[in-house]
């Protein structure tokens, strides 16, 4: 099944004109564009049923609560969760990781323990462990990379020794690498460790089933999957979430508050303190509906085709003058292309492209340890999503050469 060819029309931003060029948006790994249906779902909420949830007996409060809980159910189904109460809403993937580190880690990690992450993690899956680690004195260990930008699992058994938590990205936001999460999870479980998956770059792009992945906990973020800003998700297996102490304290997350203490609420409310991001949850539900209407398999196929097209077009045109970090095979990777073209600095490249309305990102992509492994300060990253097509790739390919002429040393 193919995606409809007029998909761009559903994304109002993609009709913008930048510097006299129709915008070419190739920065979806940073944040995706939003279809009309998502924007309208939030507008509808604000215009017709805006009210605080869960506590109001009146009509619109009940409707707001129902709309929010319907979204929770949709998201649960979308990722194959066993029940809606396994879905905890946060403000972004970063908060989800902090919740896991502080709540699960606070209960389970102390001196002598080890958390295993990888050299390609985003800061969101590094710094929360470092903050807790500095307090508790446990070790953070790193799975290294091969020269192709894959995880080097040759020493995995040794690396797993004494590990209580493995926290690994399903797809790198710099290299595009799709990691063998299931294999890692199986071996981690054998070694007695739990597994947290960073699915921030995975859920938006591939059919996702938490049971197939073998995950115990999983974090992802709304704004990269056609949803609004201000909304993230933590999924966890019910018995694990149940065993974890509350993270943030306040309204909603309690059954009772007395002067001498409080009784936490049931899942998922235990982890949702204060007024939730109601409009954003509803917007994320609309995003999931949109993605489901296209079909995640069709989206993945589209991105494989387009990634292949891009890899070929870049290679045909520039050959050895251009390197792309990460796996060469489009079926082993997502549509994230970190490009090194001659010796043009990523910043200069993105500046030249911007002049032609092409949006790519230059920087360390919140993965400084990975930058050090790659031996670069920054990369120029073009990233694809369902609304991109060949014309976007062609624009990118055509624009590299002038940048090279300007900046080659």
């Amino acid at each position: 099944m193919n995606l409809p060819s007029d998909l761009k029309e559903q994304f109002p931003l993609l009709s913008q004109v930048i510097n006299d060029h129709q915008i070419v948006y190739l920065d979806s790994a940073a944040s995706s564009q939003k279809p009309d249906s998502v924007i309208e779902a939030m507008n509808d909420y604000y215009r017709t049923i805006n009210a605080n949830v869960h506590r109001g007996a009146y009509e619109i409060a009940a409707q707001a609560t129902e709309a929010m809980e319907t979204s929770r159910g949709q998201i649960a189904t979308f990722i194959g969760a066993n029940s809606a109460s396994e879905i905890v809403f946060t403000k972004n993937a970063t908060e989800s990781f902090n919740l896991v580190a502080r709540s699960w880690g606070g209960q389970n990690l102390s001196e002598g323990d080890t958390v295993l992450i990888t050299d390609m993690e985003h800061h969101a899956n590094i710094v929360p462990w470092q903050i807790l680690g500095a307090e508790r004195g446990f070790e953070i260990r790193w799975i290294p990379l091969t020269s192709d930008g894959l995880l080097d699992l040759t020493q995995l058994d040794q690396l797993l020794d004494g590990v209580k938590m493995v926290s690994v990205t399903a797809m790198s936001n710099v290299l595009g690498t799709l990691n063998p999460v299931r294999e890692i999870a199986d071996r981690a479980h054998e070694a007695g460790a739990l597994v947290t998956v960073d699915a921030s770059q995975y859920v938006p792009h591939l059919p996702t089933d938490v049971n197939d992945l073998g995950a115990d906990l999983m974090c992802f973020t709304g704004h990269k999957m056609c949803g609004p800003t201000g909304i993230g998700v933590l999924w966890g297996r019910e018995e694990i979430l149940d065993s974890m102490p509350p993270f943030l304290g306040g309204g909603e997350m309690i059954l009772d508050v007395r002067k001498d203490g409080f009784t936490p609420n049931e899942l998922p409310h235990k982890f949702e303190a204060g007024t939730p991001p109601i409009a954003e949850i509803i917007g994320l539900g609309a995003a999931v509906s949109f993605l489901e209407s296209l079909g995640m398999t069709a989206i993945r196929q589209h991105e494989i085709r387009l990634t292949e097209y891009a890899l070929n077009a870049l290679d045909d045109r520039y050959g050895d003058e251009l390197t792309i970090h990460g796996p060469k095979d489009a079926s082993q990777r997502g549509g994230v292309l970190s490009i090194q073209y001659r010796d043009v600095h990523p910043h200069d490249l993105s500046q030249v492209l911007d002049q032609r309305g092409i949006c790519i990102r230059a920087g360390h992509h919140c993965a400084k340890p990975l930058m050090r492994e790659l031996g670069v300060g920054a990369t120029a990253r073009a990233s694809l999503y369902l609304y991109n097509d060949e014309s976007d790739i062609d624009a990118l390919v055509d624009s590299l050469e002038p940048a090279g002429e300007m900046f080659a040393l």
Partner: protein, 155 residues
């Protein structure tokens, strides 16, 4: 929307492609300071030696985009041999040129900048960077690093 020609003046590209005073002095005796731009990963290492309150020798190492590299090169040419107070005046003048929100600048700084007798010279070529706000930090990185180094020595 300003064009690329506002940003990438010929003289900037020249400094980028032929950086002046590139390298590192042995430290000690030289003083060494590292700076980095958290937004984009640019890194700069400034080493210098003071003699009689003057910047007798200065070298620049590190990696970064054309703007950060060219700015570092231009700075090195402009400050080498100058007295510390001249260097500080020049840096104020430069940073005031690089400021989009003039009102947010310390009035004292503006004052001394506007009465400064220095000529920015080649550095003027970087004026266009102000029209590209995200690049301002690229242009000021080497200056801030040098100032940090001077502060460290004086502290």
């Amino acid at each position: 929307m300003p064009g690329l020609e506002d940003l990438y003046k010929e003289i900037i590209l020249d400094h980028y492609k032929n950086p002046r005073n590139r390298g590192e002095l042995e430290s000690p005796p030289a003083h060494k300071t590292e700076g980095f731009n958290p937004l984009c990963g640019d890194e700069v290492t400034v080493t210098f030696e003071l003699r009689d309150d003057s910047l007798a020798e200065l070298r620049i190492a590190g990696q970064g985009c054309s703007i950060s590299q060219a700015s570092a090169s231009m700075m090195s040419a402009a400050v080498q041999g100058k007295s510390i107070s001249e260097v500080r005046d020049l840096s104020r003048e430069f940073k005031s040129m690089m400021s989009i929100h003039e009102e947010s600048i310390d009035p004292k700084e503006l004052d001394s900048a506007s009465t400064a007798t220095f000529q920015l010279g080649d550095l003027e070529a970087l004026k266009g960077v102000v029209k590209f706000p995200v690049r301002i930090k690229c242009a000021t990185l080497s200056w801030n690093t040098l100032l940090t180094g001077l502060d460290e020595l004086e502290a």
